[in-house]
Symmetry: C2
Subunit: 438 residues, 2 copies
């Protein structure tokens, strides 16, 4: 098998036993990029020579001195600082912007031996729905989703085994679903967002893409994310209890998502789990509105510098937020902060009753065209509630495009959620009906 | 009068009418720095030639093209990125660290015409209580407070008219009090913290120092901080109602603070205000513990990169947090997030009943020595509650060192608080008993 097809867990094992060099691994991934880049266009910056040079440097490190993921190739959303590459936020204001700075997450990755491959596309400041150039690898006439478009597409297309993204609304989970990969949004603040461009400080969360849960766990290990309870090493679906939360936005679900959620519940039942619908109290119905108020009002402070620097280079969507054209009051902002904060312990309590809560990742399969990266309507509530979420691929839409299902756990139950996701993912991938054709 | 003695409001007026050039203003400030730096040591980086060059560049801008605070000299805490100066966080890990990057707040200031003078001292990552080299300008055998030590001391010593700092516990208000200057911690998130080193994302707040409220207002204007209600242009103490909140940590108040708070209430009464004690319900008693839990647990994620980079260069205080030697659970962290969040609307409601709430800024006047920058015990609660706070100087301790009183308003009532502070400050400064001898 070409090394680029390996999961990280497999590749690092080969590197450790000496059957694969990091340079060979990097060259294999670069050949995949070369083959596919004109179609997928996931990258804003990728310099093969620099990657090879870095790979060779990593190869020269003696085995005894290597980090826990020595040789792990990572695709980085171009919203996160990397000291040896430009960081341009998908905005013309930052064309060529390249301060020599690594984000907190990049420092942790590099210290563990990661090989930063390059920067991947994002929508403008990860804030707009208008797509970057990137196409969905499973059907280039469709969007890969956003705002972490390039990282998700690169992982979905085998151009990188792991990608970093960020989510303020649905920017990790949605592209995860559209590209048929696992996507993990950990508990808010569990990973330092320092060096990630701000959008909404109370919502912004670093997340990861991979093609299996083992790879997500490998990355999670590096960030010392721990539950209070000792992690279970294995989880059996049989006898477990799952909740299904359709939430107030369920009327927006398309036929693909309706069928995926129904199949997901059925599959879990057929494997011996109990599955029940979670009726969220009406307090939760205001979550979409509150999420929107927060992004509107926090954007006012966040993008003021860019507005002052070059407002003519900002999209009207963003200038409108800074000028507060919707006249969102501070009272509304505070009500949103406080209203959501009051619901966080409530959703934790509800989620503690289940192995995980199942909820849609997307409205439906990836829509046609690149004009819109799709709707985050099924994700934003969980982002605001700060719960960990994992997108599990396995289902498909009317056009055979992937559709995932989100698994949600209480805050700081990230490790447990990963273990549960592994068992659930095995079932969904085997029996959900979607086949990866790449 | 030497230009360095002017408030910004006065200096900018002179610049506007052509009676003062920005270069002259800068040279005057630099002469003050030269005279006093060996005593106060407020700066980690200040290059006079660069400052003069920048001043000349600003002088060359035609009057019609100038920003609203064209020529405003600012001292910047060395925790905030400035693209033309090193940013070293008071940590040996970042010796010589100088990415070409301006923090969000610096972009806004520069776009408005500010002249960045240099970088000022901070404790290690603004997180420890051990002092940097800086001395209190009013008595060099005493601490200037921290962690925004240098910015507060520079403003107190007339080396800069305005300083930027940041507060996670009491790092703006406390040094404001110790140095006899006004200090303003706006509502959390009202100013983007992007480009400020993280400590605790739910607590970190940008703040400012100045020697009068007019100057704070000038800076606040730049950041588009607005209340929902139209700003009152003037406020009369007579007939107004103030609250006094001693809070659960009142037993820690020293004689200087006890006398200052008593005098403050008396002075307001003698000027015709009603002053009553605010009895906070026992729910608020857990604030100090919760604040501590948040800084402990958020530091774990925040400083993980530095721990991985060079843990031997971190203070034991910080390595202890990352290693979680106090075994603070995630459950405790979530209880703190949620418990504090539930109190935010409650304190807002209470504060809405008053022109402002008076509360101590410090335990007492600045203690002797530089080993400790003093205790943030009276500040941390308000930082966690996200309310705006202004330190008003005017009182003094047993050794004639300045003591300030904090004025607190509900969240996003920053503009009103500034107006109230102007009237209250005029009284405290005139009749509080402390005299600035510098």
């Amino acid at each position: 098998m070409d090394p680029y097809r390996l999961t990280v867990t497999q590749a690092l094992s080969n590197i450790k036993n000496g059957s694969l060099t990091i340079e060979q691994y990097a060259r294999s991934l670069l050949s995949r990029v070369q083959e596919r880049d004109s179609t997928v266009q996931a990258w804003t910056h990728l310099e093969p020579d620099h990657v090879i040079e870095e790979a060779r440097r990593l190869d020269r490190v003696p085995f005894g001195e290597r980090g826990p993921v020595h040789g792990l190739p990572v695709a980085v959303k171009d919203l996160i600082y990397t000291k040896d590459m430009p960081t341009q936020y998908g905005s013309p204001i930052y064309d060529g912007h390249a301060p020599e700075l690594d984000a907190a997450s990049i420092i942790v990755l590099r210290q563990a031996g990661a090989l930063i491959l390059g920067k991947t596309t994002t929508t403008e400041f990860a804030s707009t729905q208008g797509g970057p150039k990137t196409c969905n690898p499973h059907d280039p006439t469709r969007t890969p989703g956003g705002s972490s478009s390039g990282s998700a597409a690169a992982v979905g297309d085998f151009q990188a085994p792991v990608g970093i993204g960020s989510q303020t609304g649905g920017s990790v989970i949605r592209p995860g679903s559209f590209n048929g990969v696992y996507a993990f949004k950990p508990t808010w603040n569990a990973i330092s967002r320092e060096g990630l461009k701000f959008y909404s400080p109370i919502l912004d969360t670093i997340g990861f893409f991979a093609r299996c849960v083992d790879d997500l766990e490998l990355v999670t290990d590096l960030f010392d994310i721990e539950d209070d309870e000792a992690v279970i090493s294995e989880f059996t679906v049989r006898g477990a209890k799952f909740g299904v939360a359709k939430t107030v936005v369920w009327p927006k679900a398309g036929p693909g998502t309706k069928m995926a959620l129904e199949s997901a519940a059925q599959l879990l039942r057929s494997h011996g789990a109990e599955v029940e619908e979670v009726e969220l109290s009406s307090e939760f119905d205001r979550m979409p509105e509150w999420h929107n108020v927060l992004t509107e009002n926090e954007a006012r402070a966040t993008f003021l510098p860019e507005y002052r620097l070059a407002k003519e280079k900002l999209s009207p969507f963003l200038t409108g937020r800074i000028e507060n054209v919707n006249k969102v009051s501070r009272a509304a902002q505070l009500e949103a902060y406080d209203g959501i904060a009051a619901l966080r312990p409530k959703i934790d309590e509800i989620a503690k009753g289940y192995a995980a809560i199942l909820t849609p990742s997307v409205v439906d399969e990836a829509p046609l065209g690149l004009q819109s990266t799709g709707s985050p309507v099924f994700n934003s509530m969980w982002t605001a509630l700060h719960t960990p979420v994992i997108n599990i691929p396995g289902f498909k839409g009317a056009n055979d495009m992937p559709i995932g299902i989100s698994l949600v756990a209480p805050r700081y139950h990230d490790r447990r959620l990963l273990v549960v996701s592994k068992a659930v993912g095995a079932i969904f991938e085997a029996e959900g009906g979607w086949e990866r054709k790449l």
